[in-house]
Subunit: 691 residues, 2 copies
Amino acid sequence: MSGADAGPKAALSEVEKLSIDTIRTLAIDAVQKANSGHAGAPMALAPVAYTLWNRYLRYDPARPHWPNRDRFVLSAGHASMLLYALLHLAGVAREDGGNEPAVSLDDIKQFRQLDSRTPGHPEYHFTTGVETTTGPLGQGVANSVGMAMGGRFLGERLNKPELPLFDYNVYAICSDGDLMEGVSGEAASIAGHLRLSNLCWIYDNNTITIEGHTELAFGEEVATRFLAYGWQVLRVADANDVHAIASALETFLQSSDRPTIIIVNSIIGYGAPKKQNTAKAHSDALGEDEVKGAKRAYGWPEDAQFLVPDGVVQNFRDGIGARGAALFSQWEGFLKAAKEADAEHAEDVTAFLEGRLPEGWDRDIPVFPADAKGLATRESSGKVLNAIAPHVPFMLGGSADLAPSNKTKLEFEGAGTLAPFEPGGRNIHFGVREHAMGSIVNGLGLVGLRAYGATFLVFADYMRPPIRLASLMELPIFHVFTHDSIGVGEDGPTHQPVEQLLSLRAIPGLVTLRPADANEVAEAYRLIFSLKNQPAVLALSRQPLPTLDRAQYASAAGVAKGAYVLADSEGSPDVILIGSGSEVQLCVSAYETLKAEGVKARVVSMPSWDLFERQDQAYRESVLPPDVLARVAVEQGSVIGWDRYAGSSGAIIGMHTFGSSAPLKDLLKKFGFTPDKVLEAARDQARRHRR
Amino acid sequence: MSGADAGPKAALSEVEKLSIDTIRTLAIDAVQKANSGHAGAPMALAPVAYTLWNRYLRYDPARPHWPNRDRFVLSAGHASMLLYALLHLAGVAREDGGNEPAVSLDDIKQFRQLDSRTPGHPEYHFTTGVETTTGPLGQGVANSVGMAMGGRFLGERLNKPELPLFDYNVYAICSDGDLMEGVSGEAASIAGHLRLSNLCWIYDNNTITIEGHTELAFGEEVATRFLAYGWQVLRVADANDVHAIASALETFLQSSDRPTIIIVNSIIGYGAPKKQNTAKAHSDALGEDEVKGAKRAYGWPEDAQFLVPDGVVQNFRDGIGARGAALFSQWEGFLKAAKEADAEHAEDVTAFLEGRLPEGWDRDIPVFPADAKGLATRESSGKVLNAIAPHVPFMLGGSADLAPSNKTKLEFEGAGTLAPFEPGGRNIHFGVREHAMGSIVNGLGLVGLRAYGATFLVFADYMRPPIRLASLMELPIFHVFTHDSIGVGEDGPTHQPVEQLLSLRAIPGLVTLRPADANEVAEAYRLIFSLKNQPAVLALSRQPLPTLDRAQYASAAGVAKGAYVLADSEGSPDVILIGSGSEVQLCVSAYETLKAEGVKARVVSMPSWDLFERQDQAYRESVLPPDVLARVAVEQGSVIGWDRYAGSSGAIIGMHTFGSSAPLKDLLKKFGFTPDKVLEAARDQARRHRR
């Protein structure tokens, strides 16, 4: 597993020193010009990042999307200029085989300016070469665990003897803050458990945080903690000691049974005469004096700005560039040979590389027959998931220790469990670690896998940061959140979501679906798998819900539009009943009674606000005609936001408080989710708005 | 620091064995009757909990609110029957000195039923003797760290020589799940750092999770991890070995320089013939056969239900009851002597014990003069906080490593820093651990302190579970969330909140405030400190906001009502401009232009939806008259929910996407938050709705 072409013994040449100091001064100058940003970490870590990139990283700057490239994650995202400098100097192209640079010198001069390729924190999808969006601490390292799991999974599934299509390594640079965040601990525990020896974290142990020295709040022994997680722990006493850095990387490359953390002692703001090694070097422009002082310390021309000395770019071409090109070329050969050797395998590989769903992926999705007793949407979800998964080999996921409740286990033959020495399993046991689950699912998504997580809806609160980032990164991952209301019953208010659904709806770009019955679940999955650049979440019931007779009511295909007329009357309705999930049955029940009474009612099933908002005005008004003001909205969640659909004078039946511990039937009565309550509200609305 | 009156050598007597099995069988019978719940952990842990409670816990069942009681936290909240059985058998009273039991045998028979005192998971404020609401894993142990910090803080502040008013210990029982959650790691790191030797976690190492054996996902060395955090690690090889449990507790009581974790190997569902030691013993009723089998194994009458044998209650009276009464009586003496010794001190002690704010606590809250340039609301927050804190000695808090940005540092003389050997400091360095901060703040609140946390608003996402629990527990803690919009500027979308404010507003009971200027900040703090049973959060700007001239516009006292008319015209307005926080100035600017043009405009400053919703209809309609449909709502956050105030035909200027990295002035233009845009919308509204 060695990717090195220069052993650790290689001394630092003049051009290497120049290259390192170019990274430093580009960071200094960019932050100074923007008058904001973080130069301190790039100044400290330039030798580490340089050594990794130019001596070890298996990465072809001309092919930044090469699927078997080593991944470099800057978990300490505030140090973004470190990454931008590397992308620029290594000549990373904006697209595979293209000439346009991902980050030009002009881009660096536009650091942190509107629409520049060099935003304050690295943004995936926006700047080529950025492997994941970082900034919220702990996320990058946790993503890296998913990337490493994904690499192993792909290797197990797609490699052929002597033809390693996937054997990349994953490197992540992290800060004190990353390691203080609980999510990194969760992720490290999983990585150690799974013995991910293709994973290397480089810990920037600079002992400085925003509030001051780490001893203010961080007294633990990081090395011992990682030994406890089952990691190999290496130390580099001085971030400027390139030889020691190289040695540590070599040791990582030679290890085969556990992940590695390299603890690198560094000096934040290295070179800045007064600010180095203080919290003042963490952020903000250094100021003219410190800038000049640092440049003097590096032996750099004091007044030069954005200087890239002769030889530096060539040095990267000779290093990462030459190595990457050779590796890519070799890999192309592997790919060709692998395809030739096995036609069926070729289709699998091609489908994955093209990022497409295999033909007929949805052919086994069941149509659920009408059934008054019905089944919980978590149950139908499990059936649909297991109908799709056999046809989508690059899909994997699991639950945060609630698979039996979430019904997310893939149970068909060969699904397998992802375990320490079984990296190809498609069922992941995340343990009781929702936050890391979210971040790892993102990491899996970042390497092109169709990944999912699962827990109770109320515990989506534990994993909001990665859900938000999935949306910001436009990753088509998904999460299965069951037990989506007071329908949880006896477990009580700690386990009954109220505000979670709304909170998820509020995340820009996230598709949030709360299907009403088994056939809406099936349509929801069709929709989710059609998404290319949006994550999705499902809110599913614990309790059985009737499967609606779709001969009598409208087709569930309307799910794709977010809301649709499920049941209607002739002409303009006297009242519209709007519901989602388990409350649609209440609307249908009220509708039937009203119909018998001669009241013209309409039922709108509204599984997704965001999908509905994306429809054109004509469709939206066809579902909710503006002149029909008599409306009742029913949902076992926060009432906030429903005014938009119920209108200023409509009725909203929802939750205004937390839930309670009791059998469900008692809770429905206590909180007013009964057919009678809905009927009463509907009659009242029809009366008030009689035309 | 010894609280034991029975050494570890004491053998298990017959009545002790009976007592332990009573706990087990009450749990079994309650779960069986409810047909839901978790008996497995109580069956396993009964000997541990019995030993702790009846031999060691410094707790007076007749005085469950005694401020210096040892705290017992059941972090594994699903094992609630363990706690309810203990509360019942120990005879814990519902109120101090009262006769009514906190949990009667009838309550146990009503386990998990509507409005019973024995909900599925233990709920603080609802069942006396429950020290914190648990169920969401990791929260209880993290709360316990706050309780231990609080105990040390109170001891340092209020104890007199030889008069220990506060020297309680904190015990928490936790599960595998608690230790897998990142928040417990964060909290344990802080506890180790602060050397909280009054803290003891008892880890139920039963090796079973819901998905199966812990080896599926939990391969780490827990003992080593805790050594890394700086804890004392003890082991008990068999949960039934009362002697070993007692020894470990003695060792904890004798340690003085670090927290302790006791790793207890247990058998989940101990005694159930077929289900013990399997995931099937985790939850749900055991079934008749297993119930009988377990009872046989304990030597219990097979058919007896809810049996409390003779002698068991007396045994608890002789143990925890007698010890607790003596300790309480001794403490009353300490209190009397301490008050007599020092009158000023007496007032401090009394104020704390009565849970009231000292007289004149708000006397130094500044009135900020009108100032067009103004200051950021985070800045005015810092000033107000520092004006209040000197007069409220039982207030403490800090930031998750962002104090210089959040402006939350208490800077007056004597404020001090809470540090390893300085437990009385009022500035806490939480490190980059938002989640644990939230849970620790809850723990501090649970022991009666006025505690606060702080971070950027976007990172409120990292700590939603404890914010939710603060609201469910009705704890008057608060959090200072700064950098509350795209006003963050160059740090970009990872640091710019969009959906966070709405997500917080959706938490039932939480008071959410986004003040518009320095004087609204002052009023917001007045309101927050007046709260007795609600948590609050502040959303504050990074950027300067003009301080409005309150001679020209209405008084900021309207903040307490959630929304108020800030600027108005004669008669019914042609258009209403509604804003919060940094957008109120846009409304005021548009108002002034409209006024000059002869358009009758009104500005409503709306810092808090939830406070506004709590006002009566007359007030709400006086602010937002139903017949004035021309409305513009402006807020740099998600548009969801604003329909309620803007109305179906009003305009909403808000965020529909994530933000972007750029200087603020560019972002305001890009996202449409300019006086011109607001003016344009106002004119359009006035025109459309001309009457």
